[in-house]
């Protein structure tokens, strides 16, 4: 089943002589349960594409349907609610709230979804356990290593069981060992729970566990590698 359908996506920044055409007519389809990696050199437009697909930005032209919802027609408020209820995010700098403990960070989107405190905490702890951080519920981000923080970030992203998990270079700030652990964790989520994953990375070894690799260059998809 097609969960993302992007048609003729263009994204431009600036105006006149300063206009930069970053995405030049991208067409992309992602199936439910698929794990795809978007790769390309710096400036290829891979992160910009992911921002369009993950409803964090709006394309200049083109249409995106996610889970049969035409997201370009949503209001700002609806987009926020859509991101909360349908999508999960992992950012390269972990993006945890420094004042909240690990479990409170994971609880945030659950509370926003309407879960009560106890329910959100139980689900948050389960998610933290699932990413291998049993017992580190009350640690502040500053008390965790980079790899552990990224795991908490993954726990936050998947605790609400989103339809799609977007990961923007999740290993960029990690050492090799931690990077492999994070990629393995994301791959397990895909394999064990059928989690749809769209990941941007510039390291090919991390993309080898995916179903497909979307290669980009100069704002266009140059080729798609079907790995399995």
């Amino acid at each position: 089943m097609e969960i993302i359908k992007a048609t003729n996506i263009h994204r431009k920044f600036g105006e006149g002589d300063l206009e930069a055409h970053i995405l030049k007519g991208i067409d992309l389809s992602v199936q439910e349960g698929e794990f795809i990696a978007i790769m390309g050199k710096s400036g290829a437009g891979k992160s910009t594409l992911m921002y369009q697909l993950s409803v964090l930005d709006e394309p200049t032209n083109g249409n995106i349907e996610i889970n049969n919802v035409c997201v370009s027609q949503l209001t700002e408020h609806q987009r926020t609610a859509f991101r909360l209820n349908t999508l999960g995010y992992v950012f390269q700098n972990y993006a945890l709230v420094p004042d909240l403990s690990a479990e409170e960070n994971v609880m945030l989107p659950l509370l926003m979804r309407g879960q009560n405190w106890q329910e959100a905490r139980t689900n948050a702890r389960q998610a933290i356990d699932a990413v291998g951080l049993v017992g580190k519920y009350l640690n502040l981000p500053a008390e965790l290593s980079g790899g552990e923080q990224q795991r908490v970030s993954i726990a936050r992203a998947v605790a609400g069981k989103p339809k799609i998990l977007f990961a923007d270079e999740p290993t960029a700030n990690l050492d090799t060992v931690s990077g492999i652990q994070v990629i393995d964790l994301i791959a397990q989520l895909n394999k064990n729970y059928g989690q749809t994953v769209v990941m941007v990375t510039h390291e090919r070894e991390y993309a080898m566990g995916c179903n497909r690799i979307i290669n980009m260059q100069d704002g266009q998809i140059t080729n798609i590698e079907q790995l399995r």
């Binding site: 921002y51 964090l56 930005d57 926020t80 609610a81 991101r83 909360l84 209820n85 999508l87 999960g88 995010y89 950012f91 700098n93 993006a95 709230v97 420094p98 004042d99 909240l100 409170e104 945030l108 989107p109 509370l111 926003m112 309407g114 502040l140 936050r156 992203a157």
Partner: protein, 417 residues
């Protein structure tokens, strides 16, 4: 409701994890703002309130009976006295007789009759020393010498403003006696009749005309002025409590006894000169204006604090929005912080004001030339000022949060302008 809950969680944790000394500094600023708001107007109003209190305590009492507009004296003074004796709320009263007199000093030392005599015109008040002391504690205002002894005669008290020593700078306007001390003799002249008195003491007080009068026993003043009438000029009444309610109650009793046919009965508040009330209101407005400047400064301070706080967390705010946290929740977090600073700062301000400052200024009034200034901070006025400070602080916290939160989510996440 969800936004409120998450806003509280984010805001509470930000306060909890914030640098302790930064929080102390902000709370301190808020406390000073609160004190500025309360204390500046409180002291300005207190200048007049101190003066009013002095007039009540040392001059006109809690109730004052004076002649009707078309009469020179209080009619049926003895009847009024008998009625006053029957009212339990009346703890004491002083019947005063007033007379314009001429006082001549340095009788023994003036050898050359061609020189200017040491003489002034003054207002003499004939009192029962014991009754007057019970109402106004006049003896406490004797700054040199002693108070009148009810069993003695031939003694007089002189208000300090009649003496050159105490009126330097404006003596030329009022006239004053030179080189006069307790123990000296003065001649008091009323309508051509004279008698010598020995100065028993000098009286001074920052209350009405207390320091302008001269005081002598009422029987001696009446004898000197050859007045057979017992009708007085003023009856100052002290009640068992000073509240306006009691004043009104006793006034009503007196009016019900028909005293208003013989004299004018006024509570302390009614008898206050209008200019005092006007100045008090003016000072209140002035104090509020100065306080308002303080509020503006505090709100700008809070604005800057929250703005810096929010802008330094711009990326985090973007990410929170990115993962689906509602804007309102993030705004609530910052408004909560502002509310915390305003509440805690004001709470300390209230503690300092009511726990220390008011008591301190009551015990150690500020020595202004025309009154002993106290700090006036009516609880209801304080509450209004706190509510204003609180609401403005909330806005000062909300606006910068609103400015940052409304920025484009992706630009915030990526740190783009």
């Amino acid at each position: 409701m969800r936004s409120l809950r998450i806003g509280f969680l984010l805001g509470f944790r930000q306060i909890q994890r914030a640098n302790f000394w930064t929080t102390v500094l902000i709370v301190f600023v808020m406390m000073l703002t609160f004190l500025n708001l309360i204390a500046v107007s409180g002291i300005l109003v207190g200048l007049i309130a101190g003066s009013e209190r002095a007039v009540q305590d040392k001059s006109i009492g809690d109730l004052i009976i004076t002649p009707l507009d078309n009469e020179e004296k209080i009619l049926q003074t003895e009847t009024i006295r008998r009625i006053l004796d029957t009212i339990p709320e009346v703890t004491s009263y002083s019947i005063r007789y007033q007379q314009s007199v001429q006082i001549t000093a340095n009788l023994e030392t003036r050898r050359d009759l061609n020189t200017e005599p040491n003489v002034i015109g003054a207002r003499a008040v004939g009192i029962d020393p014991r009754a007057e002391d019970a109402v106004t504690a006049l003896s406490e205002n004797v700054i040199e010498g002693e108070y009148l002894d009810p069993d003695e005669s031939g003694y007089i008290l002189i208000g300090a403003l009649n003496l050159d020593r105490y009126t330097a700078g404006f003596a030329d306007i009022t006239g004053s006696l030179e080189n006069v001390f307790p123990g000296d003799s003065v001649r008091v002249t009323v309508n051509g009749a004279s008698r010598e008195f020995i100065i028993k003491g000098i009286v001074n007080a920052k209350a009405g005309d207390v320091a302008s009068f001269v005081y002598l026993p009422e029987r001696e003043l009446r004898r000197l002025s050859s007045s057979a009438s017992r009708d007085a000029d003023e009856i100052a009444i002290r009640l068992e409590d000073k509240t306006p309610e009691t004043g009104n109650e006793v006034k009503a009793i007196l009016v019900s006894q028909n005293i208003d046919s013989f004299a004018l009965v006024r509570t302390f508040q009614e008898a206050l000169p209008k200019f005092l009330t006007d100045i008090k209101n003016t000072f209140n407005i002035l104090g509020t204006f100065i306080g308002a400047v303080g509020i503006i400064v505090a709100s700008i301070t809070i604005f800057i604090i929250i703005f810096i706080n929010a802008i330094s967390r711009r990326q985090q705010i973007g990410i929170l929005k990115g993962i689906g946290i509602d804007r309102k929740a993030i705004e609530v977090a910052y408004v909560l912080q502002s509310a915390f600073y305003a509440l805690v700062g004001s709470a300390f301000g209230v503690l300092v004001t009511y726990g220390f400052l008011i008591g301190y200024f009551d015990a150690n009034p500020i020595d202004f030339p025309f009154s002993d200034g106290i700090l006036v901070a009516e609880p209801i006025g304080t509450l209004y000022r706190f509510i204003i400070l609180f609401i403005i602080t909330l806005f000062a916290g909300f606006i910068p949060a609103w400015i940052i939160v409304r920025q484009n989510t992706l630009n915030s996440i990526l740190g783009r302008k």
